[in-house]
């Protein structure tokens, strides 16, 4: 693959309903089986084999009233396979498994961390919500929780893998703090004793690139230095490639502090959500991307994960629009296209799998158009 404008996914992709219902202990229907087979066919996988697998499990479910743990694992593995193929088929270069085994980025991590009690659901946006917990004791983990999904993924694809994990600052910011006198102590405790062990385990598993998700990084501008400190605490001295994903935020508050981020190879950012929808490669048409000049100034060696497709609406961007966003971005960061990694703004979990595929495909097609233009 060309090293220019490598495309990447960023986070979650919706789970197929047959996987969701199986995990909930609900019936796997004929429609589920057909849907899985149809998806398999569209992804270049064997639809007959897929149908056979699910039919057998469905048969057992009807016979015994439930499916076994092993059968659930088969379904989860099938879901991961389909999601990986979905990204490959769309033309994405650097991928993960769409976080098929995870629930929600905060909940999933906190459920596996000692020292927290749940307090209830809080609104995210529209009808979406997340469960919020309180830190009531010193955070710790029994074991890292990402290695099994990575081990499976490494067997499913030859593409480069980038593993997203939720960062310490966001976990602290999204929790109530009943244990420590201040936010810093909670944040650094999470960085040291929860995030860092997970990172170490991933590196030991052969993962080369870890993306730390910090959507809360700019929530309180006065705490951006703390976010930087927690990132550094999480990765200090570890031999790997690290990036940070921040979205739906005021990026201007990151400066100048992000200059002090050690070993941050890429800033993966959302832009399409707030950009113009007309073609054009100037600042007037690309208002969302003008802040890239500040990243070029303060973090000149870091790449940019460039959000080029919006993840909060089904409306599809054109590849030409993606192309123009990329072209503008390359110029804005100083002209080096190897530093730009086109991607969706964020995870695509809120979109259907069909729309997610199309968004990823458009990302890849737009990147290719940009590649052609830049190389011309």
């Amino acid at each position: 693959m060309s090293e220019l404008l490598l495309t990447q996914e960023v986070g979650s992709i919706a789970k197929p309903d047959w996987r969701v219902q199986a995990a909930l202990g609900n019936e796997i229907t004929k429609a589920h089986v057909l849907d899985a087979a149809r998806e398999a066919a569209s992804l270049g996988e064997d639809p007959v084999a897929t149908e056979d697998i699910l039919c057998a499990i469905r048969h057992d479910q009807q016979l015994h009233g439930e499916i076994s743990d092993d059968q659930l694992t088969i379904i989860k593995d099938l879901s991961a396979l389909h999601t990986v193929r979905l990204q490959e088929r769309a033309g994405i270069d650097i991928l993960f498994d769409g976080e098929q085994d995870r629930s929600e980025m905060y909940q999933y991590a906190i459920e596996r961390t000692r020292g927290f009690d749940w307090r209830g659901r809080v609104r995210a946006f529209d009808n979406r919500s997340y469960r919020k917990a309180a830190c009531v004791n010193t955070p710790s983990i029994d074991e890292p929780w990402h290695t099994s999904e990575v081990t499976r993924l490494q067997q499913l694809t030859n593409h480069p893998i980038k593993v997203p994990i939720t960062g310490a600052y966001t976990l602290a910011a999204w929790s109530y703090n009943e244990q420590y006198d201040n936010t810093r102590d909670l944040t650094l405790s999470l960085a040291r004793d929860v995030i860092r062990p997970n990172i170490q385990a991933l590196l030991k598993s052969g993962v080369e690139w870890i993306q730390i998700d910090e959507p809360a990084a700019t929530t309180i501008p006065e705490e951006v230095p703390l976010f930087v400190e927690s990132f550094n605490e999480s990765v200090a001295g570890l031999a790997g490639r690290f990036s940070v994903h921040i979205c739906f935020s005021d990026y201007s508050t990151l400066f100048p502090y992000v200059s002090d981020m050690d070993n941050c190879d890429q800033f993966s950012l959302e832009f399409a959500n707030r950009d113009g929808k007309d073609l054009g490669v100037d600042a007037a048409h690309r208002p969302a991307y003008t802040i890239l000049g500040d990243f070029a100034r303060y973090t000149p060696n870091a790449g940019i994960g460039l959000g080029v497709t919006s993840i909060h609406e089904d409306a599809l961007e054109s590849p030409e629009l993606v192309r123009d966003r990329v072209i503008y971005a390359v110029d804005a960061i100083g002209g080096d296209p190897t530093k730009i990694y086109p991607s969706p703004d964020c995870g695509l979990r809120t979109r259907s799998r069909d729309i997610a595929f199309k968004k990823l495909q458009i990302t890849a097609e737009g990147a290719q158009l940009a590649r052609v233009q830049l190389q011309a």
Binding site: F125, N127, T219
Partner: protein, 326 residues
């Protein structure tokens, strides 16, 4: 010195939804339940929310706006002049929180649809809305700054007019962005609120400022008697209950009503806020003190919101007793 100050309490804003209602919302989106079924659930939960407030003795009770996706959405949908399809608009962070709203874009002169606005106010004696300048700051706009502010204030006049026509007697205006200006505004936020109060003298208006009020400083204004002003805990330490905005000096007219914001932040620590002493309240020469919460309740888990309402009830009773004992 009179010791007959009326102590009241008020709840405002969007209530958190129960897990059942959240699940029902997802079911509705996916066609698993009908709109009628969902509306019935909303009605039940609204009744529960109102009943909680009644049980805690809250004076001014609001229905929780359980159908409001955010603080702007229904107003935007009912008003011409915004870009179409707000439900697909950009998702934007709600101040320094991890909750988001869909940002409206003002494209043209704003004109509210009276019938749709009336539905927002029907049957309600008391409602809360964003203060006009916060509403302005939260919108993107293709108009210049002056036109944007003017259009929003004009929209608010329409909203207030429809509210009064619908029988609303009291409105709380929540100002989240008084000192966090994204764009400069033409005049301090409170001037627009005072203008509304003067335009609608029969309407009781409470102006609840949730930012760092001490940054605003004092502004010499005459406060209309129908306008109640918030003094947050933070502001109180810096300004003092009687001198906010210059009100309370011998040269200005005092409002008859004042708010004391009593519950700050979303911490699990339900600390008892420091109220001014009853003697201080008596010296302010106001006729009515209304206690409320500064917390945006939709940012809390539902059990926490319940606790905040209960605490509001307890504090109100406590202060009533203290004043009665003097």
């Amino acid at each position: 010195m009179s010791n007959t100050i009326e102590v009241c309490s008020a709840v405002h804003g969007i209530a958190p939804r129960s897990d059942d209602l959240l699940r029902a919302g997802t079911d509705l989106e996916r066609g698993r339940i009908t709109p009628e079924t969902y509306e019935a659930l909303v009605a039940t939960e609204t009744d529960d929310w109102l009943a909680l407030q009644a049980d805690e003795g809250v004076t001014f009770r609001e229905d929780g706006k359980l159908t409001w996706a955010d603080h702007l959405r229904p107003i935007v949908k009912a008003t011409d002049g915004f870009a179409e399809d707000i439900d697909a608009a950009p998702v934007t962070r709600w101040f320094e929180t991890n909750t988001f709203y869909r940002q409206p874009t003002i494209e043209d002169s704003l004109e509210a649809n009276n019938d749709q606005i009336d539905q927002l106010f029907a049957g309600k004696g008391y409602v809360s809305l964003l203060a006009p300048d916060t509403f302005t700051q939260l919108c993107a706009s293709e108009l210049d700054e002056a036109d944007t502010a003017q259009n929003v204030h004009s929209l608010y006049k329409q909203l207030f007019d429809r509210a009064v026509s619908s029988g609303v007697e009291r409105i709380t205006l929540t100002e989240y962005a008084a000192t966090d200006f994204v764009r400069s505004v033409q005049s301090p936020p409170i001037e627009g609120v005072v203008a509304l109060a003067n335009t609608f003298p029969g309407l009781a208006i409470s102006y609840l400022q949730l930012g760092n009020a001490h940054k605003v400083g004092t502004i010499p204004l005459v406060c209309p008697p129908n306008l109640g002003l918030e003094v947050s805990e933070t502001a109180q330490r810096n300004i003092g209950i009687a001198s906010t905005y210059g009100f309370g000096s011998s040269k200005t007219q005092l409002p008859k009503e004042r708010w004391q914001a009593v519950i700050v932040g979303d911490s699990t620590v339900l600390r008892t806020p420091e109220l001014p002493s009853p003697q201080t309240i008596l010296q302010s020469r106001i006729e009515r003190l209304v206690l409320t919460h500064t917390t945006d309740l939709q940012l809390l888990p539902l059990p926490f919101a319940h606790e905040k309402i209960k605490q509001l009830g307890e504090i109100t009773s406590q202060l009533q007793e203290q004043l009665g004992a003097l």
